[in-house]
Amino acid sequence: MKEQLIQRYNAAERINHWVVAVCFILLAISGLAFFYPAFFWLTGVFGTPQLARIVHPFVGVVMFIAFARQFFRYWHHNLVTSEDVKWMKSVKEVMKGNEVGDIGRYNGGQKGMFWVMVGCMALLLISGVIAWRPYFALYFPIPLIRVALLVHAASALVLIASIIVHVYAALWVQGTIRAMVEGVVTHAWARKHHPKWFREMTGKES
């Protein structure tokens, strides 16, 4: 018998995800270079330091647009329910590998991650535009630019730490990467991690 599979992400969704991911990596590398003097050499990711300064915000805009598309795809799957709160409260159990609750398409952790990303992306866009030279910064007062620079760095660092968790979670829960690469997950994966979603997708009992 062949392995039983469920489609989790279609091709458009996967492309969308990887556009955001590649932009994020380039932005994180160049951004850390501007933040940590000892890592300034990472500006080399865009060729030269000044090129990095020029290109970084444009890549940021691409990431934001692609992420906005994801936002409209997924926001309604990410509304937090009481089941999710239960999940968040028992996160310790979850870390041991024990599933908690009747999880739908996304669990409490994934939903939390989604909203953290949304918040960070919004802050990054607004603060990034305010600090963007030579095009926009000159229209804003210096004290506001100072706040923007602080907010930009802080929200970027929150996002970087969150993405580390996001990537780790995908690695830890085996079979997850496949959902974003090939687009499919196994029945076993769905039954174990997202039982409610599994029933919805297959009509079977989990």
Binding site: F40, Q50, G97, A131, A161, A188
Partner: protein
Amino acid sequence: MALQSLDILRRSASPTAAPQARNPLEVAKLIDVSVCIGCKACQVACSEWNELRDDVGSCVGVYDNPTDLSAQAWTVMRFNEVEQPDVSGGKLEWLIRKDGCMHCADPGCLKACPSPGAIIQYKNGIVDFHQENCIGCGYCVSGCPFNVPRINPKDNKAYKCNLCSDRVAVGQEPACVKTCPTGAIQFGSKEDMQEVAAKRVTDLKSRGYDNAGLYDPQGVGGTHVMYVLHHADKPELYNNLPKDPAISTTVSLWKGLLKPVATLGIAAAGLFGFFHYITVGPNRAEDEHEAEEEVTK
């Protein structure tokens, strides 16, 4: 520009020490606002020596011209007409201040700059921009408490007064000092300039300016451009010279506290993942072998 120099106190975005074996005297420029007649000879000398030519502007109704600092105008005269009852009994005063880089002992631009070696602070106190290392981010503009650095729209590099570091390096005074016809601008060791200022302040006080004083703000560690002001209690009268300038708290948080916090946060996320994986191990969907069993059946 970067000459071989062994007297660098600080270098932007450089975690380790710069060459600093030489020990030059700390210098300062003293601008006596009470002596300045606003002739702008210093402005002209600055543009001549540094070979800068700002665009010809238009008259805006006052003497300010150019009206602001720019990559082509590293110093400008600011003219203020002050008529306030609590200042010199309400008589009209024409307060003229030569604006430009203050060469802070604790420079906000240098603290903010992300590019190694784009901003240099020499041991003699001069804060210099090395434009070949500048990436044009404008962080220095946000870091400066005096609103001095300007980004050149032509090359997207930051510029400002360098206190004629090239002239000072060979034992000459800055061009503006050399040219001032009234002696309102003097240059020498910081100590000497403080002495000269003290004499001037005593003189001004004896002539009725009770609040005369030296402007050498300690919030930025003192400056290497200092003013003698007739109203040192109200520096804002002189085109909003800040009363207690200091590096903004926002900038200090961004360049200070945020770094260790961020390092801890990122490291914690990474290390947590690593140790979680090697202790708890991967989370596999169990019944993969069930499927296998089915296959073998």
